[in-house]
Amino acid sequence: MRSIFSLTGKTILITGASSGIGKAVAQQCAVAGATCIITARNKSRLKHTLDSLEGEGHQMVIADLVDLSSIERLSSELPKLNGVVCCAGVVETKMLKFSEDDDLQQLFYTNAFSVIRLVRILVQQKLLHKESSIVIISSISGVKCGYLGGSIYGATKGALEGFIKATALELAPQKIRVNTIAPGMIETPLLDDSIIDADQLEADKLRYPMKRYGLPGEVGYAAVYLLSDASCWITGISLLLDGGYTLN
């Protein structure tokens, strides 16, 4: 018997798939039986993800989602989809008093505008089947809590949480669902570039009741659930995935 949690027969677009959360989401979607279309800016790393996907028929498309024309070109190359997972994003640690308009623009274009523009074009061009699922990677930062130097990052994630509410309402007649996943800190390469040092990271992990950061694959499991028919009556929610961090 086919599991209700299976993605067999579904074609899923995953953005930011060259590393970190996006890569793990693509891998878990493939394990669950989906045909994946993965996108990112970096060709060699994206190819690496493509080669790591279980099963056949997956495709990759190079796109820079900060650029509207690149989003338009991506959409012109897409088949009709059963789901999309928006993972592309950047993290910044800069206190408000030092931030500049360039930071605002870079973070909003990458984290928020790219998602809104992509979902908009998928809807406009009717690239989503009925009963599709849109999943957006948000964060606990800007939604449940904040971190020092994360005011603009948090604002972009808060924007995504706001975006899904009305969008879920507008797409409900087509049974298209729109949800976010709000992870706590996940072990990804973004951490390696962090302004925070290794000892501080280790201390921060202990602030999680589960005593560790999340793994990219664990975001993948949540994404598979929200993409699957098992979550067919869930729309407009933010799925908290934080090892209990925000309980404190």
Partner: protein
């Protein structure tokens, strides 16, 4: 770039501590009561913005005095 200017920029990240408490040989973590992760981040952000050098907490981990931080910036410029 001159160390007195840097010390002024460094001190500027603190709200309660007077400028004359900051000297090149000041052991900033131990001697400045107001030192915290927040002022530490402010100093890293200030160095990035004003001096164009991106430092991480790991980079400054082995520095003790304000002069050490200054020398680190000079070495990376």
């Amino acid at each position: 770039m001159e160390i007195n200017e840097f010390i002024k920029d460094f001190a500027d990240q603190f709200d309660e501590t007077e400028l004359d408490e900051f000297k090149p040989e000041t052991n900033y973590r131990d001697d400045i009561d107001e030192w915290s992760s927040l002022t530490g981040l402010a100093i890293l952000n200030m160095i990035d913005k004003k001096y164009g050098v991106k430092l991480t907490a790991t980079d400054i981990k082995d520095t003790k005095t304000i002069k050490d931080v200054y020398n680190l910036i000079v070495s990376k410029k």
